[in-house]
Structure formats: structure tokens, C-alpha cells
Amino acid sequence: MSEDNMHLYEVFIRSKRGLDHKHVGSLHAEDPEQALEYARDVYTRRSEGVSIWVVNSSHIFASQEDDNESFYDPMDDKPYRHATHYQLPDAVNNM
């Protein structure tokens, strides 16, 4: 069997209970179980995490940074979405 046929998996690790899984890298494997074992061997040798997710890379649908302008607006023209936009008297400014 050629290595070309191996699937690419993205690896996500939860470093501690309560935190989100974070992307740490990728690897090749034949199936999800094997990907999980490889991820364990490669990405958690120094107690980096308590939980691993592996996701077939082809299942990730991603936006492109070049498309940002037409795809989403950073909302920089909407400063009122931020708390700092509102000037309140000092006595109540810790609201």
C-alpha cells in the first residue's frame, strides 16, 4: 500500500478540563482509531493534555483570509459593541 492513500488528520488537544480543545498539528493515519493513537504518541509526550480530538482534514471547511473583505466584516465601524464606548460618571464606571 502506498502512503499516498493515508488520510490526513488534524489534532486538537484539551490541555486541562474546562478549557477548549486547541489545534496542535496534523498527522497521517489509516483510520480515526490509529490517528488517535498516533496523536497520543506524537503530541502528548509531556502531559500536554487530558483529551484528544482527531478530525479528518477533508472534513474541515475553512474560510480564506483573502476572502475576508467579502466574507466577514470586522465591525470596526461599530465601536458601540464595546463597553469602552460608553462614558459613565466615575462613581458608577466600574459597571
Binding site: 484539551r14 478540563r17 474546562g18 478549557l19 477548549d20 483529551s51 461599530k78 458601540y80 459593541r81 464595546h82 463597553a83 464606548h85 460608553y86 462614558q87 459613565l88 460618571p89 462613581a91 458608577v92 459597571m95
Partner: protein
Amino acid sequence: MTESMNKTEAELTDTFQARVDDEQKIEPKDWMPEAYRKNLIRQISQHAHSEVIGMQPEGNWITRAPTLRRKAILLAKVQDEGGHGLYLYSAAETLGITREELIAALQSGEAKYASIFNYPTLSWADIGAIGWLVDGAAIVNQVSLQRTSYGPYSRGMVRICKEESFHQRQGYEIMLALSRGNDEQRAMAQDAINRFWWPSLMMFGPHDADSAHTGQSMKWKIKRQSNDELRQKFVDQTVKQVEVLDMNLPDPDLKWNEERGHFDFGEIDWDEFKRSMTGGGPCSRQRVAHHIQAHEEGAWVREAMRAYREKQKARDDQAAA
């Protein structure tokens, strides 16, 4: 691989409680007592429904906001509430319940939402009072819930608190503008405070002694502070804010208690709370009816999306064949 293999329920419960006691979060795939799961689904879905139903009383003023700036702010706030509903529904779904089941429970009246949203928004000042008092009360509760024991709920709360930081300030800013206005504007602001103060205090739920869920929820650390503790915190922080507005809270019993180091306040009308909570609030029927109507009117969009997906799939299958 799963921790539930070869262990008795009592052992699993011990492991679970030890984890909670140790301030570790519980994550979706962990073993958890069935009652913990049920309690969480009830609380998180009630919270989600409140975010979504809460869009109605505020949405009522979007077209009538006094300036373009106020309108843009109100739109952004109501949009946030919809997003917060989504975060919370998703957190509830990690516990093995579907979105359809959650929505059905809201529409049948089986699930509750915050009774405050059953009150009407009669004037522009109500939008100020809601942002300042209702979001203020919600934030007190949500800040505490950032430390809840269930991971997805906790992470949702962190996200929501961050986004909500502007909600209370924009409400207070509306009240501040009215409080510095003419007599009519000041009267309007005071009237809104009079109507929203007590319902805001009701948002924290029944007294600890009368709360069906508090004891167990505290042991499981679903709740981190009791209803009465959080309510007291809200009263204490709000008094100063009312003084700056030079307005009054409608409670003759409100006074500083040196010994306790807190403000004393009067008794809530619990009959009104019960009435409003069980569908007898001024706008209860309207809120649920509107939700059902919007849901039904959106059915064609969901159907069209499904039809498109099926057509594309058929085309792909044909190409592959």
C-alpha cells in the same frame, strides 16, 4: 476505553463528586449522574429560552429608537441575545438532547424562561431600564456561572459575559440621558424603574429555603452562589447607581444595615412571581405565540435548504455513479 466499564454506579458517583469537589470541570463524555444531566438540561435550556424570548420586548423598540445611534446599539444588543441563545442551546445539546426537543418544550410551556420578559416595554425608558437592571441582574448571575462545574456551560458563560459588557452600560447611558432631561423625561425614567425593579429582583428565583434545586445544584457546583446571595449582591451594587441618576427605587424598606454590611430590602411579591412564571404574566401568551409564529413562518427557509442539500447530493451521487 470508557470509565464506566466494570464500575458500579456508586463508584462512578464517587469519582464524579470527587472531581467536582476538586474544582475540575465535567466534560460531555464523562460519566455523570442522570439527575445532574437532567438538572443541567433544565437550567441551561431555561437560560437559552430567556435569551431568545428576551429579544421580543427590546425588539419592540428597534423601529422607534429616538436616534440612529440608539437604533444601531439596540440592534447590536438584540443580535447578541440571539447569539447567546445559540451558545446555550449548543451547550445543552452536548448533554444528549436535540434542538427540536428544546424548542418544543418552550413552545408547549413545559420549559420556563425568565419571567421578566413577560412584562411589556411601554416607553423608551424601559429599554434603558432593561439594559441597566435586567442585564445587570443577568450579569451578576452569569459572572457566578462562569465557575459552574459543567465545561461547555462554563465556556459559554465566559463568552457571553465578555460580549455582554456593553449591554448594561448602554442601558445606564439611556437612563443617564433621561435623568438629565426635562421633567417629562425624568418621570418616564422613574416610571420604568418603578415597573422593572421588582421583576429584576425576581430574576434570581425563589428564596434559598424555597428553591427546589438550590441544595443539590450547589453540591454539584452547577450553581456557585445561592439565589439570595446573588440578589443581595445586585441590590448592593444598584443603590449607588440609582443615586447617580438622582432617582428612587420603589421600596420603602430599602436601607443600609451596618451590622450586615448590606442593604436591607422589602419582600418580593411571590404570588406575582408565580403567576408570571406559569404563563399568567402580562405578555406571557403573546411571547410564546410570537415565537411559534416566527418558527412556523421560517419553516419554508428550512425546507428550501433541505431540498437544496438533497438535490446537490443526488447530483453528486449521479456524478459518482
